[in-house]
């Protein structure tokens, strides 16, 4: 036993030596500038966009000197972010990574990202992007960009036109009308929608629309505010629908969820543009019966949309070829060729102003009764308020809020309680990471 212990001690000491050595090396590599590499380079890129191989092939065919190797994995919170964090720790991240807007601050706070605004080509491209998407990667700092905006998730109302018509229910334009419609839908034997208990992003989109602002960063410290009045209004609204059992609460992104839509049990979904793909793949039996309308409003006559999702293509700090990486990221997210492929393969909705006017977005979509659904989203994209800030530990904020939301839909506590608990836990998490936070 004593021998074992000494072996253990030796290895512990050896490791601590390696550990401290590695740390100093990390801090030395800071502030690399963005200069083109000489000679051919190979870039690695990790993402979960379906069909990305085709898009990358289009780039590789034309750029023999900048070859991109793509790796696909599960969606961000489903595992790829955890991989990125581990790779950061081990110092072997890919050159480029797919990171959603809400996770960018988490990667920046872990010192994992390269500021692509240092690359002149990116700085020049800034004006091509829809202002609020750029704001999501710059965190409000004009001189920085922690990724190239890829897509956005303006929200709208997907609804079953056939069922609403058959039961003589008007398409709700305000949240009040939506709640009233929920009663009628219930009377007709359905649920107006399914409330997302574990994917908090949907709720975040609702809060965003209502004017809730969960995080603020004044440069000195963070402010966490998951319980501001606007967010509370949204929480109480949905709590009321949950308590009256007017919405179903099957866990999102499961077969059960697909079934709720496929079996016509849920009649509407307030979701992002990429949700069009989710319904098409999850509820094939309902083809031709869905339509899209603008998101219900808190005040009659106003035109504010929420946003759910949207991603950036980020360059990791360890990349040896940031210039070429930025070049690829720009092509991927601004060129008509790439945007058309991304939309065709994965229903991604461009983050550039010109992109939203591309001809393929004016096409009618068969699944939605030949409605030109992207016109609704194009309008919504301009109605998203630009200044929503994400916190630096969203993985944990989402997990905490989701734990509470799950309890609330099971009848223990309310959504407001859940947010209050998540607020407290988020502040704790920030403190344990030594991130300055206002209490």
């Amino acid at each position: 036993m004593r021998k074992r212990l000494s072996v253990l001690l030796v290895s512990v000491l050896a490791l601590s030596a390696c550990g401290s050595g590695g740390d100093t090396a990390d801090t030395d590599t800071a502030a690399a500038s963005c200069a083109p590499s000489s000679g051919p380079v190979t870039l690695t890129y990790t993402t979960w966009i379906p069909g990305i191989e085709k898009v990358v092939k289009a780039w590789n065919d034309k750029n023999p000197n900048i070859q991109v190797k793509v790796q696909t994995g599960p969606n961000g919170n489903g595992g790829t972010y955890a991989n990125f964090f581990n790779q950061l720790k081990a110092g072997n991240t890919p050159d480029l990574g797919h990171i959603e807007y809400d996770a960018l601050p988490s990667f920046r706070v872990q010192d994992g990202l390269f500021d692509v605004a240092q690359c002149d080509i990116v700085a020049k491209a800034k004006d091509q992007f829809i202002p609020w998407t750029w704001n999501q990667v710059s965190f409000g700092d004009a001189k920085s960009a922690w990724g190239v905006p890829q897509d956005s998730g303006p929200m709208a109302l997907f609804y079953r036109a056939d069922l609403f018509e058959k039961n003589g229910i008007a398409i709700p334009k305000t949240w009040d009308e939506y709640a009233a419609a929920a009663e009628k839908v219930k009377a007709a034997g359905g649920y107006i929608t399914n409330f997302s208990q574990s994917d908090i992003n949907q709720f975040a989109g609702f809060a965003w629309q209502a004017g809730g602002r969960w995080f603020a960063n004044d440069g000195q410290q963070w402010t966490v505010n998951l319980t501001d009045d606007k967010t509370k209004k949204v929480a109480d609204y949905w709590q009321n629908l949950i308590s009256k059992k007017l919405v179903s609460t099957v866990p999102p992104w499961t077969t059960e969820w697909d079934n709720a839509y496929n079996s016509s049990s849920a009649w509407t979904w307030v979701s992002a543009v990429w949700g069009a793909n989710s319904i098409m793949s999850g509820a094939p039996k309902t083809e031709g019966k869905w339509r899209v309308a603008p998101m219900p409003q808190w005040d009659a006559g106003s035109t504010v949309a929420g946003n759910w999702g949207g991603s950036a293509t980020a360059v990791f700090k360890n990349s040896k070829h940031p210039y070429e990486a930025a070049q690829f990221a720009l092509w991927l997210n601004t060129s008509e060729e790439a945007l058309a492929l991304l939309n065709q393969e994965a229903q991604l909705y461009p983050a550039t102003t010109a992109g939203t006017k591309l001809p393929f977005l004016a096409n009618p979509v068969k699944f939605y009764g030949d409605q030109k659904i992207y016109e609704i989203f194009a309008q919504a994209a301009t109605q998203v308020t630009p200044d929503f800030t994400w916190g630096p530990t969203m993985t944990s904020t989402y997990a905490n809020a989701s734990d509470g939301f799950k309890a609330a839909v099971s009848g223990n506590g309310t959504l407001s309680d859940a947010l209050a608990a998540a607020q407290k836990q988020t502040v704790e998490t920030l403190k344990s990471q030594a991130i300055p936070v206002k209490e």
Binding site: V7, L8, T27, Q220, P251, S432, A434, P436
Partner: protein
């Protein structure tokens, strides 16, 4: 596994100590056989443990809202956080409750199945031995997904049951998972017990028969006491497995409203490391490992005392 080995070795320390010349006689044979194991043991066992311990002693410092993190030695700061973390200790309580119920049920079933196979009452012994073992060949995640569908209120083929009793609700989900774990591991444990039943010399049975013992009496007074070491072994494995529950709750998390991100200790570790807060996750792991060791050893000691 290791604790079993070490007790075996420690039981006869005098043998090696008494004959120091032995190692010379075998020359290179000893290192030849020991080095491959030793190397892997150090690389994949001691080093990761050592690394986790080192990690757990660090804490993060930074300046400004996006300042780069510096890992500095923090002593036992992370351990203090572990002990103040309510959900973590709740999750330990939860898996203990799980273990107290599930382990005896599973091993009881395994023992009965093993005794039935051994009794000669069953025809097609080889078939059943394989059939009971097959669930163990199903990867844990797949088993959990499969049972998740069976439990699902709207999709289950047993809808008449699941639409009345929501097996994925807070009241039942722990036991729904216990059922999955039992289903997977019962055959495995049965096999360990069964192979130890096969090792019992037939003379013992003959003697018992001559004394007029029936099949049940033989099972109760001879077979069970003689396979006790195998039962103890499987219990220790099960205690370890219970405290380490991860795959089932992780899968059920997406099906069930009742499974939170801190439902079991390992899920807490997983959630913490994906924040990412590696030092705190390491501290959770070390504490969990210690708790596992303490429980396994306590169980071993308690049963050994009973033997003597």
């Amino acid at each position: 596994m290791t604790q079993i080995l070490s007790t075996d070795i420690e039981a006869k320390p005098d043998e090696t100590a008494a004959k120091p010349g032995r190692a010379v006689k075998y020359g290179w044979a000893v290192p030849f056989f020991v080095v491959p194991f030793g190397l892997l043991f150090v690389l994949f066992y001691l080093l990761p443990i050592g690394y986790a311990i080192v990690q757990s002693l660090y804490t993060v410092e930074r300046t400004g809202t996006f300042g780069p993190a510096r890992e500095v030695f923090g002593g036992l700061v992370q351990y203090q956080r572990v002990f103040e973390n309510g959900p973590f200790w709740e999750s330990i309580g939860r898996v203990l409750l799980f273990g107290v119920v599930q382990v005896p049920v599973m091993l009881g079933v395994a023992l009965i199945l093993a005794l039935l196979l051994d009794s000669g009452l069953v025809k097609g012994r080889r078939f059943f031995r394989l059939a009971f073992f097959v669930p163990y060949a199903v990867p844990g995640v797949i088993a959990a997904i499969m049972w998740g569908f069976l439990y699902s209120p709207n999709l289950s083929p047993l809808k008449s049951v699941t639409s009345v009793v929501d097996l994925l609700s807070a009241d039942f989900v722990l036991w729904a998972m216990a059922n999955v774990v039992t289903w997977v591991y019962v055959g495995y444990n049965m096999l360990i017990i069964y192979s130890s039943l096969l090792a019992i010399p037939t003379e013992v049975y003959e003697a018992a028969k001559l004394d007029g013992a029936g099949a049940i009496r033989v099972a109760w007074s001879i077979k069970i006491p003689l396979v006790m070491p195998a039962i103890v072994l499987t219990t220790v494995f099960s205690i370890i497995g219970t405290l380490q529950l991860l795959a089932e709750p992780q899968v059920f998390r997406s099906f069930s409203s009742a499974v939170t991100s801190t439902y079991t200790p390992n899920l807490t570790v997983y959630s913490t490391s994906s924040i990412p807060n590696f030092p705190l996750a390491a501290a959770f792991s070390v504490v969990l490992a210690l708790a596992t060791f303490v429980l396994s050893f306590a169980f071993l000691k308690a049963t050994q005392r009973g033997d003597r």
